[in-house]
Amino acid sequence: MIGNMDTLVQHLDAITEHVMRKTAGELDTYPRGVTPREEVYTAGNVSLLRFKSPEGVTGTPLLIIPSLINRWYILDVTEETSFIREFAQQRPTYLIDWGYPDEEVGHLPLSHYYHRSIKRAIRQICREHGIKSVDLLGYCIGGTMAYAFSCLEPDLVDHLVLLTAPIDFKDAGIFATYAEHFPIEEFSASMGKMPGWLLAFSFQFVQPMGVYQKAKMFHDKFESKSFIKLYNAMERWIADPVSFPAKAYYELITDLYKKNLLAQGRLMTAEGRQVDPSARRAKTLILNAGKDHIAPLHTTALPASDKAPVSEVTIPSGHIGITTGRNSKDACRSAIDFLMN
């Protein structure tokens, strides 16, 4: 039934998109990600994007690792809120685009993303610039993956920014409760992927009044052009869900949420390598959100065995609001100050 729902939802999506396009007017052609970029490398679904910087911008390149759960351009949704635009003004800036993974990568483990793919991207950047290490910024699960990578390859990472990245999944809030009860074995036996629409629905489900409150906010502010611009850009992003490959999802739920192996230093890659927090050396900034219900504050703390230099900045916002809300500029400035010093 869930498999057939997938097709039905795709048809409904296409109809909704058609209707929205007709009513969106000029905002329909608004780009997904506003900073000019080019694709420098592709490996399967995964591609490496390089963002355009002004002439003369030098320094250690920054590689951004977005979440696997939704599209990367939440960090570049409008000119006014774009993190990427700000970073690209300071440093050569790259980003891994995870694409739209489907069942053809359903057998690949989570370590394919947090080790192999990130290593490939860094190798490409290092060859291009003739350097040995880069700075990393990971957002949400992208931060979790960036952290795991910096444990596995400490020589390749100089600075690490963890943006609302859950590391310690013990008592990790409502999503941990759902993960605890989620029928992961039945899922593994029946599904080749976790459908994007089901993931998007689950995020809305845990905030049941979210849709109503959003409609109310729209009613109050729709006459403001700047609000409408951000609102439409965000709605487009929300309506662009990404499926999570099956095996990687299985490992996310069992190894991270249920067993909390990363924080205990017992997470293993598919090749049998241990992700050891004590091996990490990168200078780290934990940038978390005070009102985050997806990655509550205590989940962003690093394991006790991690002895790398760490600083922490808490922004009074939600998980998504830290990148697009009224305090997003403070978050962006904190990250840039850390990377530049």
């Binding site: 490996a43 690949l108 409502i174 029946s190």
Partner: protein, 126 residues
């Protein structure tokens, strides 16, 4: 005044509904029962998919499962090709770096021989 009453009513409704739904979605028993329902649906889907695969096999047609397996094999081949390309690039980079290493000892030899040559030249001049 009517508008104020409606606004008040909407706010009260929002608070009441919000509190009730928040409690519901955070209730472990509710989550547990919902998960059991999802598990049953997934089990049914697995059974249905298996039956469909067997039907397709009986008609000598490839099933979705088989096509996905082929796509996964292609992904594996692509991964290996990428790994091989990277290894080859690393090898070429290493080879290109070698002549610079070979030239360096030769230059050092010439520099070491220079004082001896100068001494010889001075002796000949005398």
């Amino acid at each position: 005044m009517g508008e104020d009453i409606m606004k008040q009513w909407a706010e009260n409704w929002e608070k009441l509904m919000g509190d009730h739904l928040e409690k519901l979605v955070h209730n472990e028993k509710f989550i547990s029962e919902m998960s059991k329902s999802i598990a049953a649906t997934m089990t049914g889907k697995a059974f249905y998919s298996k039956a469909l695969d067997e039907q397709m096999a009986a008609m000598n047609l490839p099933s979705r499962t088989e096509i996905v397996k082929i796509l996964q094999k292609l992904t594996d081949i692509e991964e290996r090709l990428i790994d091989l390309t990277e290894r080859f690039e690393d090898y070429v980079d290493a080879q290109q770096a070698k002549p610079a290493v070979k030239a360096a000892p030769a230059a050092e030899k010439q520099e070491a021989a220079a004082p001896a040559r100068d001494a010889k030249a001075r002796k000949q001049k005398k």
